[in-house]
């Protein structure tokens, strides 16, 4: 029920009501005559309404959230507390650099730490989200080729296992998308890649480990094939968590990368933002980085812009990224330190492999049984669907009843009836065991009472939603009557 539906004429929150009219100097003909359309409710109505909504939330603060390829890990409270210090919150984005040296020094350190952990030569914090980071990355690839007068490069190669954002980004940047298939072990098909590269290749966008939850074993050969054709290598940082501090995209030969700080660096995630998608580049792409960038000049930190970087792809927003999110990531990185970052990858990988082995023992079919998981893995319910009629979607809905957020369903598209499961490093063995036990219970239910699973969820505030109607007749408006 919307708060507007609880409105009763004349009711109001007395304590919050203004006691006298404000003194305003606005011409009478510019003032509105009718009242603002606000719900007429009491203070207690408001408190109950929003408390109830928050209780209906399925979130990382309340539930295990093994949403594959999304890295839904715990957000340490310290990051939030420090980023909310009044000096940060109150800082105006147009305040002169000399009054914000502390803030700028943290941003400079964050740039440096991200360079170090990824093996890139320079980083810009400007992108406001992962998708904007991707856009900036491919825009730099285009700017690089154009700066060399190399204008015939019209194609970006994307593996068929990629996130949908990759072909979308390439298209946004004016490129034609060329898809390459995956081989039986989940690697990019090297022969197919060799066959499609050429003088028209601007670059390859690759996620490593891939969305299939496996490390691209032939990354060295992939790099050679693309570089020999004059193309650049783009690293999609979606799965950076799996290799953080252990393997560096720069060392693998990538020319440009984006990172999702809301995934790997534990800033709040979901709900549409705000996000942070910094981009890192090697030496040859440095001139094209989006501005502003923080630099240290003698003893002072300054924002550099189009004047110092005439070849920049430009600005992505009015200012520099989402500072509150960048600060949280900075605190997170400082708390972990160099050793801590290595442990992120170690435990993310250990947790994924533990859970994978346990589910396999319970009778689940793995999409790539011969491969070790990176930080996530894929279960396919294709055989279960043939046997019982229970689909991956039914399974996901039933997990909600058991107190777990569903894993990613039906992605990657290559694997039928799949669940993409990513536990992250922040979950304990007890939580993983409880999740595995719930999965086993549902597997048993699918065989003994399939209707129970097919009708799930039973214990949520709403039952099964009509996805088709929601997609075709999307209605997000409320109209006053």
């Amino acid at each position: 029920m919307l708060i507007f539906d609880q409105s009763r004429t004349g009711r109001r929150a007395q304590a919050q009501s203004p006691k006298r009219a404000a003194q305003i100097d606005i011409a009478r003909n510019l003032l509105r005559e009718d009242d603002l359309l606000l719900p007429a409710v009491s203070e207690m109505d408001v408190v109950r309404h929003y408390t109830r909504l928050s209780q209906q939330n399925f979130s990382i603060d309340t539930h295990f959230y093994p949403l594959g390829s999304c890295t839904m890990k715990y957000n340490p409270r310290a990051c939030n507390a420090l980023a909310m210090l009044p000096g940060f919150v109150g800082r105006h984005p147009l305040a002169p650099a000399k009054t914000g040296q502390a803030f700028l020094s943290f941003m400079h350190e964050l740039q440096t730490m991200l360079c170090e952990v990824t093996g890139m030569k320079a980083v810009s914090l400007a992108p406001m989200a992962g998708a904007q980071g991707e856009f900036a990355g491919v825009a730099m690839i285009r700017a690089y080729h154009e700066s060399r007068g190399d204008s015939g490069r019209s194609e970006i190669i994307v593996p068929d296992a990629a996130h949908g954002t990759n072909p979308a980004t390439a298209t946004m940047c004016g490129y034609k998308v060329r898809e390459v298939p995956t081989d039986g072990d989940g690697n990019v098909d090297l022969a197919a890649l060799s066959a499609v590269v050429g003088p028209q290749t601007a670059g390859l966008m690759l996620t490593n480990p891939s969305t299939l939850g496996v490390f691209e074993r032939t990354i060295e050969q992939i790099r050679q094939v693309v570089h020999n054709a004059g193309g650049l290598l783009y690293y999609d940082g979606a799965n950076l968590n799996a290799i953080l501090g252990r393997v560096r995209p720069g060392d693998m030969g990538f020319d440009v990368i984006h990172m999702n700080l809301h995934k790997t660096f534990s800033t709040p995630h979901g709900g549409g933002g705000p996000g942070a998608g910094p981009v890192g580049v090697n030496e040859r792409l440095k001139p094209f980085l989006p501005v502003p960038i923080v630099e240290r000049v003698e003893d002072a930190y300054v924002m550099i812009d189009e004047v110092q970087r005439p070849q920049t792809i430009g600005r992505l927003s009015a200012f520099m990224g989402n500072p509150g999110v960048l600060l949280r990531a900075y605190v997170y990185a400082r708390m972990l330190g160099r050793e801590g970052m290595r442990r992120v990858a170690d435990f993310a990988t250990l947790n994924a492999n533990y859970l994978m082995a346990k589910l396999r023992r319970f009778g689940f079919e793995l999409a790539y049984p011969e491969r070790r998981a990176s930080h996530e893995f894929i279960v396919t319910l294709q055989a279960l669907k043939s046997e019982t009629g229970v689909t991956a979607m039914d399974f996901a809905k039933r997990l909600l009843d058991k107190g777990f957020h569903a894993p990613t369903t039906y992605f990657p598209l290559l694997v039928p009836e799949c669940l993409l499961i990513e536990p992250t490093e922040t979950e304990s063995k007890q939580t993983l065991d409880a999740f595995a036990a719930a999965m086993k219970e549902i597997l048993d239910e699918a065989r003994t009472q399939p209707e129970l699973v097919r009708q799930a969820p039973h214990a949520m505030p709403v039952r099964r939603l009509d996805d088709v109607r929601a997609a075709r007749q999307l209605d997000l408006r409320w109209m006053a009557t």
Binding site: G164, Q382, Y410, F411, L413, P416, D467, V468, A471, R472
Partner: protein, 129 residues
């Protein structure tokens, strides 16, 4: 599984029917709609567009995924089924009745080289392990 014997097929799950006027109708197979689930959106190519065999020329989107449609043969788009814009569910209801677009082929041999029902059936079988 429903794979009509009189149609031709592609390995990207389009079906192709030869019409009396020499054009070919194109849709997606029953198996394809089954994998995609309930369709919510169909995008067809413009009438008059020239397409090469294998070129992307449409999109079907379901509650699970969006999927490109590829031209099964080289030719010119001579008609599109506009009914699908408002009623994509027709593809779920009867995939072989709900044609998406018609092509006037320029390379008649390409049609002959498409998969027959047995060949497509074997492909589906192999993809289901």
């Amino acid at each position: 599984m429903s794979i009509p014997a009189e149609l031709k097929y592609t390995d990207t799950h389009e079906w192709v029917r030869k019409e009396a006027d020499g054009s070919v109708s194109v849709g997606i197979t029953h198996h394809a709609q089954d994998l995609l689930g309930d369709l919510v959106y169909v995008e067809n190519p413009q009438v008059g567009r020239e397409v090469n065999k294998g070129e992307e020329c449409g999109v079907v989107e379901s509650v699970k995924a969006a999927s490109d449609i590829y031209a099964p043969v080289t030719g010119r788009v001579v008609a599109v089924n506009n009914e699908l814009a408002d009623a994509p569910e027709r593809i779920n209801q009867d995939a072989y009745d709900a044609w998406m677009f018609r092509l006037q082929p320029t390379e008649p041999r390409e049609y002959e080289m498409l998969l027959d029902a047995a060949g497509y059936g074997a492909l589906v079988e192999s993809q289901e392990h």
